[in-house]
């Protein structure tokens, strides 16, 4: 019988280590022969960088794709989605259909975003169209809400205007890159508070695309009542839902941690808004996740040694439209409450069951098609092979009995078959 799986990690979190130990795996260092390495994003950069020329062998698996930043860096994600949309438009796909105002009907799920300082002039043009709007500035490479601030006046971002005028080559390497997005100032409020959705999505391969959605996502609530008032633009407790920020608030509660399960959200929305609009909302959430993955699939290095578990951040506005805010490559494994710890432990457990079948020494040549029983709390979000192979029926069933909903209906109206929606 093959030996025990040898694991390494540079993230010292109990939810990870407990999972490795319960499988009877053996801990080794990175210089030894290892089978499974749960890396931080810094390490993956080194592993796959051109200089080190690391070559992974068939029995080695890592938890990131080499160029995951195509999806997880805010500026690159937007770039890829814009490119994807333009491509679809060029080939005349019904998905790229626009309405009378020039807005995409099905692919408008990222708030209007510009890179700074590169797109500064384009941004100013857009800003002038609706001068009373609020915009959110986010540093491209940071996480946990660090460095984010809101603006409603051009003067607040003067220094990026200066940078754009100088030679772009020099300044961009010294100044930090930012993205500026239209701030969603009409978020759906529950109990008067703003919240966002954190959903976990596991991708085992990009080509063909195979991804799973964790059923137990959660909502993160702000501790302070939401107000779009301009006097509170600086109050990050009102606007940013990151737990890293909220937990420093006065009213932060360590028992529930300001978190709600997605099933609570569903219960609340169904009870107060009705079943159809709630189902439509959740269908749309699934849709935008799949579209975002399809957008980066062509540029992703689909290394067979890799899988990745992303943390998707989504905000719902008061018209029940979901917006993709960002995708995290290294979602936090810190537990803020007891429930949290259980959730993250189970998340890793189910992830490992899918990525490392039977807990045995991996062979990266396997077909990455786990049997249904090991999915645990994951459900298949999209399986490209299934969708192409046996047609729409199988794909419908693989979405856990959910109907394709309005998407299919609308596209059928345009004369194409259901199959093409998922190609």
């Amino acid at each position: 019988m093959a030996g025990k799986v040898k694991w390494v990690t540079d993230i010292e979190k109990s939810v990870l280590i407990n999972n490795f130990e319960k499988r009877g795996w053996v801990q080794v260092t990175e210089n030894e022969d290892w089978n499974f390495y749960w890396m931080s994003v810094q390490t993956i950069r080194n592993v796959f960088s051109v200089e080190t020329g690391y070559r992974l062998s068939d029995d080695q698996i890592v938890n990131h794709f080499p160029n995951h930043y195509e999806l997880t860096r805010k500026d690159l994600m937007v770039k890829n989605i814009k490119r994807y949309r333009k491509e679809l438009e060029k080939e005349g796909s019904p998905l790229a259909e626009k309405d009378e105002n020039g807005k995409y009907l099905y692919l408008d799920f990222v708030p209007v975003t510009y890179m700074l300082p590169a797109d500064y002039n384009l941004f100013v043009e857009e800003f002038r169209k609706s001068p009373s709007s609020t915009w959110i500035m986010k540093p491209c490479g940071k996480a946990q809400g660090k460095g984010i601030f809101l603006i409603n006046k051009l003067s607040q971002i003067k220094k990026w205007s200066r940078d754009s005028k100088t030679s772009s080559f020099v300044s961009q390497s010294t100044k930090e890159a930012y993205v500026i997005s239209l701030y969603i100032n009409n978020p759906l409020l529950i109990g008067g508070r703003k919240f966002d959705l954190r959903l976990y999505v596991l991708v085992s391969t990009y080509r063909p695309l195979r991804c799973y959605m964790y059923k137990l996502g959660f909502c993160r609530f702000c501790t302070v009542k939401y107000t779009p008032s301009t006097s509170e633009l600086d109050n990050m407790f009102v606007h940013l839902t990151n737990v890293a920020i909220q937990k420093h608030g006065e009213d932060y509660n360590h028992i529930h941690g300001g978190k709600w399960t997605v099933s609570n959200l569903r219960l609340y929305l169904e009870s107060t808004r009705g079943r159809e609009v709630t189902s439509k909302l959740f269908d749309e959430v699934h849709w935008i996740i799949v579209q975002s993955l399809k957008a980066v699939a062509p540029v992703m290095n689909n290394d067979k040694h890799c899988f990745e578990c992303y943390g998707y951040d989504i905000i719902i506005d008061d018209k029940l439209k979901p917006w993709l805010i960002e995708v995290n490559a290294s979602p936090s494994l810190t537990s803020s409450t007891a429930n949290d710890r259980i959730l993250k432990y189970n998340l890793i457990n189910d992830t490992l069951n899918i990525a490392v079948p039977n807990g045995e020494i991996p062979d990266c040549k396997w077909n990455k098609s786990p049997p249904k029983e090991v999915l645990g709390n994951y459900e298949i979000l999209y399986d490209e092979e299934l969708a192409q192979g046996e047609g729409a029926d199988r794909e419908l069933r693989s979405r856990s009995g959910q109907s394709l909903g309005p998407r299919a209906g609308r596209l059928r109206d345009t004369g194409r078959t259901v199959l093409t929606t998922w190609k």
């Binding site: 109990g191 302070v224 009542k225 028992i255 529930h256 709600w260 609570n264 009870s271 107060t272 429930n339």
Partner: protein, 526 residues
């Protein structure tokens, strides 16, 4: 036959009396006058034509719903000569016990008042009023210092009172026999056994069992679900309270629940209801009551820490603070064994003209009270509607959970029902727990007093409350409590202390109510 007829006419007279004072009466009158303009109303057959018009326009339905509502809430008079106390509570010893319990609560409240030198009520200065108005939607933040306040009482204090309840006319002798009740409650009240629970309640003539068996296969269940939703939508379209009540016995689809409950409770948001709520809000702004601090404290201790309800903290203040000032709630004391506490204007002790009810609605909140409101926040997000629904739920059901009475849905009967079910159908378990000093009621009491709010997952809780509304009875709380013990019986048989038993039963959040009840009611009966 004659007796029945005279009973009926008495009931009719009572209901007519009650409805004449309601806004519905005014509306019907206005409608009748307006209908005279219509061509189909002829002078010769005025009465019949107007009746016909009411039927077609849906006003008859509204009247029907109002009558049905009255019938559900008010107990039927037993005898025309019965004094009003009998309507509250027919048994003397129960009335006495409730009276002395109330005295204790009031004493506790007054002493807290004196200790902290806080008046029971005071008018707010204008500056404070303005501030509160601004903060109305976020009273949860920046709360006053509540460290010195304690809840007036907690469920376990109330349990001690119930345990000591005795009927002075009842002597059961000292010798133990198989008839001896092993539980904590020692009063001779009639409670149902499982066959009786499974039979229909007295009001409906159709033989509908209390809990129906679910269809067994998955595909059938989806068909059943869709059909169920379709029927629910039809019931809502008809706007018939009685039909809605029958329908909801099978549980409500999530999307229809809010409307169904409103229909069953006969709540429609009329402009005058919204105005009434605004008036209560004004009262809150203008005057500060001591009970407000108790409410704050309670919410902070319970709902704020709850995984499901913390989001709605601010709604709870908005509902409960207004509730304390709502004098229309005093009406329910006509059929509640409890009586509202009386307070006297300073210096006028004993003079009836200077007596006021305190708090204005006569209900002193206890530890966990806010949990009655919390689950409703999942259904209603408009404060005035939320308020109306809660108030109606309170005066129909919740008040029975913390007053001493002989009513079959009263907490005393529920406790006895729980213990009897356990002793009858799980005698070994009951005996074992009693032997290790873990009387089951000590654990299940808090579940029943709170109607399981905060113990079950919200979706399950709502399914449970569907049945409370459907059967117009709280007995299901006792049945569920027994069913939980039955479910965990194997583990409970192995524990050796009260603390260990509490630990086994500490987390109910994963339980599914309907399967649990079904197993208990259908599989336990041999």
């Amino acid at each position: 036959m004659l007796q029945e007829e005279s009973d009926l006419s008495l009931i009719i007279a009572q209901i007519v009396q009650k409805l004449k004072g309601s806004s519905l009466y005014g509306q019907l009158e206005r409608q009748a006058w307006a209908s005279l303009q219509r061509p189909e109303i002829k002078l010769e057959s005025l009465k019949e034509d107007i009746k016909e018009f009411f039927k077609i326009s849906g006003w008859e339905k509204k009247l029907q719903n109002a009558v049905y509502s009255e019938l559900s809430v008010f107990p039927l008079p037993s005898h025309p000569a019965a004094p009003p106390e009998h309507l509250k509570e027919p048994l003397v010893y129960m009335r006495k016990a409730q009276g002395s319990w109330e005295k204790r609560i009031l004493k506790s409240l007054n002493s807290m008042c004196t200790e902290l030198s806080i008046p029971l009520a005071r008018k707010r200065p204008v500056g404070e009023q303005k501030e509160l108005l601004n903060k109305w939607n976020e009273m949860g933040t920046d709360e006053p210092d509540l460290s010195l306040f304690r809840p007036v009482y907690a469920p376990k204090d109330f349990l001690e009172v119930l345990i000591n309840l005795r009927n002075p006319n009842y002597e059961n002798g000292d010798s133990l026999s198989f008839r001896t009740h092993l539980g904590l409650i020692q009063v001779p009240l009639k409670v149902k056994d499982i066959p009786e629970l499974l039979r229909c309640d007295e009001q409906s003539s159709a033989n509908v069992p209390m809990i129906t068996l679910p269809p067994s296969t998955k595909s059938f269940s989806e068909l059943f679900e869709n059909e169920h939703v379709r029927i629910g939508q039809k019931v809502l379209a008809e706007q018939d309270s009685a039909a809605a009540q029958q329908y909801i016995r099978q549980g409500s689809p999530t999307a229809l629940r809010a409307e169904l409950w409103a229909l069953i409770l006969n709540i429609s948001s009329q402009p005058e209801d919204i105005l009434y709520y605004e008036q209560l809000k004004t009262n809150v702004i203008q005057h500060d009551l001591l009970v407000d601090s108790l409410i704050y404290k309670d919410v902070k201790l319970t709902a704020s820490n709850d995984d499901y309800y913390f989001v709605f903290e601010d709604y709870l203040y908005q509902v409960l603070l207004c509730f304390s000032r709502d004098t229309s709630v005093l009406d329910h004391f006509a059929y509640n064994s409890a009586s509202p506490p009386k307070s006297y204007i300073r210096g006028k002790l004993g003079l009836e003209e200077y007596a006021v009810f305190y708090p204005p609605n006569g209900v002193i909140p206890f530890h966990g009270f806010s949990m009655y409101v919390a689950p409703l926040c999942f259904l209603y997000h408009e404060p005035s509607k939320l308020y109306q629904i809660f108030r109606e739920m309170y005066v129909r059901f919740f008040f029975r959970l913390h007053s001493i009475s002989s009513h079959p849905s009263g907490i005393v009967s529920l406790c006895l029902l729980f213990e009897t079910l356990l002793q009858t159908y799980l005698p070994q378990l009951f005996y074992h727990l009693r032997e290790i000093g873990a009387q089951p009621l000590r654990i299940s009491f808090k579940w029943m007093v709170r109607a399981f709010s905060g113990y079950l997952a919200t979706d399950q809780l709502l399914l449970l409350w569907d049945r409370i509304l459907g059967y117009n009875s709280l007995e299901i709380l006792a049945v569920l409590a027994a069913a939980v013990f039955a479910f965990r019986a194997v583990n409970l048989m192995e524990v050796t202390s009260l603390a260990a038993a509490e630990a086994v039963l500490a987390d109910l959040s994963t339980l599914k109510v309907m399967p649990l009840l079904q197993i208990f009611l259908f599989a336990t009966v041999t």
